[in-house]
Symmetry: C2
Subunit: 433 residues, 2 copies
């Protein structure tokens, strides 16, 4: 940490042509090209960099990159120590910029860009300390963790003092929990079997394969024709027996339709129904939950901690699906982990895309070690794409994420990948425009 | 309307250096440079164009312009008739773009850009019909109005059929209401007396001036030191006597603090407290309203109809402050006018900035003629800056907006202004970088 100065920021628009294989397809997102606004922070120390990203679906990534270009000015020229000594103050420089703020506040393009930059700073911090991010967080004194959180607008639900008490109360038993993670890893579920664009035959074959790999939790995309949804749900249920089946409608329905459709799909015993309606509809989710009795999950499109606070206050969700890149970086994810713990709701992070699996494993491990202190009803999403581009990819064994071991936040991408998928100048895009 | 084709879109980043005079300053927005992402749609008809904008505060306007550049592709090459025949289908092309949507959905930068484009198309439509926008809307058959609205995600609160019934029920008496507007205009309030950066002396002098001009409603910015807020509130109250005083905290407070501060300021009898906390906090606004008994207003940062729906469902607001540029253009504003009418909450639009006064007068006139059919507790915000740049500026008489008379949606800006304030190439910015 001694005298590390951030000397520059390199920003890239990275796009992978995933839409050409229906990878990532669902009822709403028909043709995603998994993409990232990617940030490399340079320092005055040879070989020391911070790598961060925000996940996008292709078009529009350039907007996040441009927002990141502006926000990165707040990092360049600052010392790492100055930032981490009062991490929330630094985060507020990004979210509170008096002119930029109008474009949010704390939502959409500018907040996605904020996430990429904060994630890069956290990566740099963990590398400087020579530990994986989860370990850095797990070892932090309570006050330092609280200093990274913006309690503004959530203090009515969770005052800072109460968050501190919660963290202190959960300290006991951390060593045993860490032992358990070292032994078996953190439980995961797979979304790779049931994409919207896959045929029944492909789904059946992928279920067989996933069962052979030891998976216990399976997610199916729904939100198509009612008969088709039910047929696919029965197919997966028949394949996986008594294992857990989650369903994901990706915001396809209005509230009344969601109630009707969720009731119809209850036959296949969903462990949760995910994103049944608009991600902005807190009261709608609460009503769907109340009127169907099915466990409700949402969060990958939940824009910030203020919305998560209300989802929890309203009793709208059974499962809190944080997104490492939509929330304002590690800082705001810590805030939401604390809120969820206060309300007793399990956090099962959204992952997939590009880099999200690499990210959220750190957050869930920290959640288990320091915040929730529980694995009950907790699983991290896993999707098997694009990991080969990362220098420290996730490692899955028997349906579990193994503990990351390398220093940092696991988002460093190989230089060859950057050269290939940089948009539109990269070699892939020049050859396949 | 015959065979009008949109042949191109010209997009500009316009910035006015308002921060240099503390104009527009409040407790959160300390140094706004009133700005706009501005769109000129060209057509195959000589002299026929559509002018639209979204309002911003300076930095970040370029992001809206870039988003607009992408979205404008959906308009160019289409006929006006094709768009207006199913206006919601066109709007859905913009809000539902499968890759762009990830950056929202329907919020932040991409939604601001959507607003600018839709506003430009509505301006073109009204010009093609040779009438002011309010008149175009006021004369539309019910089904055509409904076809402009996206009922997705709001149908649980307001099904399309119910919206149609509401519009039909309010048809009676429109001629008399129009007479009334022609005679006296639409009531307005002034925000120009109480900006945050103004001294007590300046506020006192501006109050005297506004009283002499016939104003009956005055807004004061609060959210500073408690003693300072109260001193300023007493000053304005003393100046204006029994006239209405609104207060605006611009999101400064957490929920508990907002309750305490609003109670303390109740001494000066606020007609409403505006933006007491985060614009995302529906449940927080409901609690502040419940626990203070003061009328609560919000909306200028309310990102879309789904949020307004919940503010109304939760009983969180007494005053619905639509924003003509943050909501997705005229289309989504119609949706929110209908929702507010359903819930019996008066709409008092946010205005000021640049172009917002020009815009919202049309929406409020339409609201009175066709939707709410009432002027009770309804006033449009008015701020006296930057109108000189518009070819059809608002006209205020005796504290009322006079009916716009020229064809269109009143957002055309003089070419000289475009040449001067285009950023960064305009003459002003080259001379005053």
């Amino acid at each position: 940490m001694h005298n590390i100065q951030i000397t520059g920021a390199r920003l890239l628009d990275l796009r992978f042509p995933t839409s050409r294989e229906s990878i990532g397809s669902d009822a709403v997102n028909k043709d995603p090209d998994y993409s990232a606004a990617y940030c490399i922070l340079d320092t005055n120390q040879a070989g020391l960099h911070g790598y961060g990203l925000t996940f996008t679906l292709g078009r529009g990534t350039e907007l996040c990159v441009e927002a990141l270009r502006y926000l990165s000015r707040f990092a360049v020229g600052r010392s790492l120590e100055e930032i981490t000594a009062d991490f929330n103050a630094f985060s507020n420089l990004l979210t509170g910029d008096t002119q930029f703020r109008w474009l949010g506040p704390e939502k959409g393009v500018i907040h996605l860009a904020t996430a990429a930059l904060l994630n890069a700073v956290w990566d740099l911090y963990a590398r400087a300390e020579g530990v994986p991010l989860w370990q850095l967080l797990a070892g932090m004194p309570v006050e330092q963790l609280l200093n990274a959180v913006d309690f503004r607008y959530i203090s009515d639900a969770l005052p800072r003092e109460e968050a501190g008490e919660l963290l202190r109360a959960r300290a006991a038993g951390m060593e045993q929990r860490l032992e358990r993670l070292r032994a078996t890893g953190y439980p995961a579920y797979t979304t790779s079997v049931g994409w919207f664009g896959f045929s029944d035959e492909k789904i059946a074959a992928l279920c067989d394969q996933a069962l052979a790999e030891g998976w216990e939790y399976f997610k199916l995309k729904v939100g198509g024709e009612p008969a088709s949804d039910l047929r696919r749900a029965r197919l997966v249920r028949q394949k996986i027996g008594g294992r857990k089946l989650m369903m994901d409608a990706n915001q396809k329905w209005d509230v009344c339709e969601a109630i009707e459709r969720t009731r119809a799909l209850a036959e296949a015993d969903p462990w949760w129904m995910e994103e049944p309606t608009s991600p902005d509809d807190i009261l709608g989710h609460a009503r769907i939950r109340r009127e169907t009795g099915v466990r409700i999950a949402t969060g990958e499109h939940c824009q910030n901690r203020v919305m998560f606070k209300q989802l929890l206050q309203a009793g709208a969700i059974d499962v809190c699906q944080i997104d490492s890149c939509r929330l304002g970086g590690v800082n705001e994810n810590i805030a939401v982990l604390l809120l969820a713990a206060k309300f007793g709701v399990p956090v099962c992070p959204h992952a997939g895309g590009v880099g999200l699996c690499e990210y959220v494993q750190h957050l869930s491990v920290f959640d288990y070690l320091r915040v929730s202190a529980s694995l009950d009803d907790r699983v991290i999403e896993y999707v098997g794409h694009l990991h080969e581009h990362f220098t420290d990819p996730v490692r899955i064994r028997n349906g579990h994420y193994l503990l990351p071991e390398k220093p940092g936040y696991s988002a460093e991408i190989y230089p060859e990948t950057l050269a290939t998928y940089n948009y539109p100048q990269g070699t892939y895009w020049r050859l396949n425009p």
